[in-house]
Symmetry: D2
Subunit: 357 residues, 4 copies
């Protein structure tokens, strides 16, 4: 059972609520003798941190991670790595008014109906705050993968407005608050998201992840398929409603001839002439770039009143105050990267177990 | 590890290659004292069987299932249920010519690079023939779910041509070779797929699955999310490249106001006024219809020669003869239904374990 | 994979080294709405705490547990329960002299050969300090089991000196430093262990665990057998070398007639006339008392010099100073109880999943 | 969940009842390109086969195994290996008289109370017939381990009569019907077991397993300990009531000085001067011989009438006819070896995953 655990051999388990004392994570299965310190993990966490622009939540969390086990004299020991972040800026009072109401689009109703109890403060366990720990685990995963594997993500669509793919420039991605690779789109998006933000509304987004340097042969046929587990990894991120690999939904519109990624030899190695597969065939990586996209719905916390019901079955309305991301899709970029890093690390170990090397 | 196993508590493990002696499945975790016989499973298998129209493979398999354990005097005993289907019409000779070539779009290359060996006959383990066992397991899952839960699927797009949703009629679905709910689309699709088939080409498709009567409260937060595991279940079906739940990729284009599924009371129960969520919030079912879609790429086995390489690294061409589905998406409908049935059954047991009832 | 996780549905994962900043545990799968607070867990932890008599380690740890997640307003929420204990009295300097030597009987050599690195301070991850977290998890398990299930343990043999079973008195167990049910044995053991302790030597012990009120029907046939998993649970406690259920090794000496536990009806219920089975038949509990025993080897940390080698392959001698239990078997009693409690809770949930009720 | 599955990375799942059509097994995780054929597996199965002497069941089963998947042109492919054995000589009529009675010592009562239904024919799923599949899986495990690892078992005690350890001769083990290494004990045991057999009674036994050539470093600390999982593997064999490693229960009687296995260098390698640890320290193999023992209770099927109750709660008596092993411990030898082989293979893959090499 894995309600709070991700991964098979490289695996992490998280705990903690949005407004609890701390959030934490235990990472198991890490190979021994890898260099690891808090600064390395912090580097990746800082990319996800709230409050870095007007387009993300204004909650002020330093998200300072501590390694509490599993590392000795700067190296991993093979023992479980405990990671802890204190919550600092929880304002539970913001949530008093909604403790008896179900916010539409949130997990309030389903937690209540499943468990008969819920920690309503800041969404409790259902809060995206938990994703900080995914990013931390992803930083360790990157150590396992090494520097030859690059995992990068970008927002490629805000609301209904996509980037121009011809403008794609990875260098741009770290230079705007949207992780956007198209500088022209950035200008349009700033205007659009400002409008939404001021109105107390919200927007959705589509994120693309690209892995270069992924080793071929990762993944398992039939039920441990790399693409199937990638779909779960991304669909499991808060607010995600769609996932696709390679040509994705567009693949349904192609003919067999168009879709086939032909192969040639290039410098003694197999080279594919296209990548409709998105780097995965039969559940196993081909060695091409792994390419995946996921769609994030608009933030459910909005100011406009929406009709809802109370925990005791009365009809009412709700408008959600608090400090929310006007587009949660933006901060999903480092989270998606992290999930993909963890999955790759897990499959690298799984492959080594069965096939060696 | 689960390379050949699906599910946690209701779980099945499959074995067998396309051209081996048999394919089989062992289903574990079934509650005791459920009525089960071969006829019930056969009913569902027959819906997936090849050779039922000119639009599916002409391989003649009766797909006759035998229950070899776990059922006693017509009832499940709680012991593992062994299921076996003999392969009858394998024509391995068709594959001799391609044993040293990698077919583009197939798993030939990735199996070879991962394992250093592959059973090339009919795609071996990577063949969609394995999905017969998913359908068989799905039949058992439906017994667990009972008759109040209906799981249905339909092709809603062939190539680039979608149905008209206003024409949707579930009764139509069983009456045409496409599992299509729109009789007007059927006419267009017959023409289009005949063209592709005669040309030795192939087409993709999009399938929609709908569950009515799904109990609320199924799924787990954070890493055992119902929607995340559904994404894996569907993406793990052969040739699938995209999965979405509820509004799916379109959710990214909605405003927060549009996306929120408002709630009212109706006859003493919570009623949602829309279903952009597709029946899942925070990874847990709401009790609304579960709605998911998945995209299937065009069949990779096509007659037109494509460039490829050999296992020894020489450039060559390949055109795939044999008896193939011109659109594998069609036969993916009962497979998708089965995966969803298995997932629901699994989560029903998982929910009962933690929360009772 | 479960290197640091115990259990299937009720499961906990621990982290932390003996001389690290903290030890911790995340408990997953707990049913919602159970009353839980730190005082309840602390009650059980205090029974295991070192430094309570001259017969246990003089390390001074308050073992103060904090619940950092998963409990809201005094009730479990179904979310993972994070538990943390700060380490307070670690004296790592004691271990400087042995950092390059393998202590016989300890895991120093095997950790080094497996991982190529080890946290030598206090045994690092291999220290019995980790068992505090098992006791904490066991306290939560007891909440799941309820008050009708009593899980008790007692030392029944110190060194080669067994108790007189006719003297068994459960009330005595909490009134002497040995968890011994036979007051006459206590007197002998005090003398014997004082001799060993003063000499810097150590002694082994045998512990018996008894569960009354265990529900029948728990366990799974074939590979999830209750007795098999109980054997793993107990053998996995530090320093344990043998486990037996019911008549145990003595069962090998009985005839079939002697061994058979006959059955009669008693007040409308099935009653067994003996309990050679130890409450488990075919891997499933019968409803009789579950009875298990485990043997603990003498503490490996002793003052007498023993021959060993260094990490660089030189022959040397070692005598282990520090604050050690002269008989680790004593403090294994609450640990054994906790493992049994966790296993019962896990199987109760597993049984409910498949069979309901 | 693993009710019918053993192992983590090298794992097998079995199905089938004693009197069903067949028993079967699917072995997952096997590395590719290992030589494997039916003759190799059959070799090991033949050692366990019933009817080979007057001291085992006279049921005539050829136990002819078929490989139905996962092997191609004599080599494993990495795909799941399906194994099937037809049941040939089931005499279900023997069991008609006991279908409504619970046989003492058998799992009849516990299966009924757990599932509310049971296949009473020959013990159904609880029959030791299932262990044929463990032996088959063990044969594959031996291929993974290679020829440098020898796993051997012997009966060292029949009833209360142990062998003289000074007489131990491995060559004797294959030359008598008891797998006994002491020719003098064989003579005594023949006489004793003939008496028991003719009387319709039964005897217990103790088996010792020894692995030579086990690589050091296998196993995981804390909850995936090699010795803990070995205890589960052996306790999970039908009729086993006790397990010990190395000095076992006797370890409790040793002083710390006696118990410590001292270390010296020998030809550049670490050499232990004794093996009280039984080849495992801190849950990880040391490279010494792995030594384990397990106790098997006397066969529960005996001719002497015993008191019992019926499924409807009436008091009655039962005497078990049929063709039973007068000492099931004898045929447990190849089963114990197989479980140990599977565990070693599993841990070899698990070790390679985390630590490489």
């Amino acid at each position: 059972m894995s309600s709070n655990t991700f991964g098979v051999l490289f695996r992490f388990t998280t705990w903690g609520e949005s407004h609890g004392e701390q959030i934490g994570c235990v990472v198991d299965g890490t190979p021994p003798r890898l260099a690891l310190d808090e600064a390395w993990i912090q580097h990746w966490l800082d990319r996800r941190k709230p409050g870095q622009s007007r387009f993300t939540s204004q909650r002020r969390e330093s998200d300072r991670v501590r390694i509490v086990s599993g590392v000795f004299e700067g190296l991993t020991t093979g023992a479980p790595i405990g990671l802890i972040i204190q919550n600092e800026d929880a304002r539970s009072k913001d949530y008093e008014t909604i403790k008896d109401k179900f916010r539409p689009g949130h997990a309030d109703y389903t937690y209540q109906i499943k468990y008969g109890i819920r920690d309503y403060r800041g969404g409790g366990r259902a809060s995206a705050r938990e994703t900080a720990m995914r990013v931390a685990a992803g930083a360790i995963a990157r150590r396992i993968l090494g520097e030859d594997v690059a995992i990068r993500g970008a927002v490629i669509q805000l609301g209904a407005d996509p980037i121009e793919r011809g403008n794609w420039d990875w260098a741009q991605v770290e230079q705007n608050p949207f992780w956007c690779p198209d500088p022209e789109a950035v200008r349009r998006w700033e205007a659009a998201l400002d409008v939404a933000r001021k109105r107390g509304s919200s927007m959705g987004a589509v994120i693309e992840l690209v892995v270069t340097g992924a080793p071929p042969g990762l993944g398992s046929p039939v039920y441990g398929k790399f693409d199937a587990e990638l779909a779960a990894a991304l669909m499991g991120i808060n607010a995600v409603k769609g996932v696709e690999i390679g040509a994705g939904f567009k693949a349904a519109t192609l003919s067999g001839e168009e879709n086939a990624d032909e192969m040639r030899m290039k410098e003694g190695k197999v080279a594919f002439l296209s990548n409709n597969a998105g780097g995965v065939l039969g559940g196993i990586t081909t060695g091409q770039d792994v390419v995946a996209r996921f769609a994030v719905k608009p933030t459910s916390s909005i100011l406009t009143a929406r009709r809802t019901v109370t925990t005791t079955g009365e009809e009412t309305e709700i408008s959600t105050k608090g400090r929310h991301d006007p587009c949660v899709g933006i901060r999903a970029v480092p989270v998606g990267e992290a999930m993909l890093a963890c999955l790759l690390a897990d499959h690298r170990l799984r492959h080594r177990a069965q096939c060696g090397g």
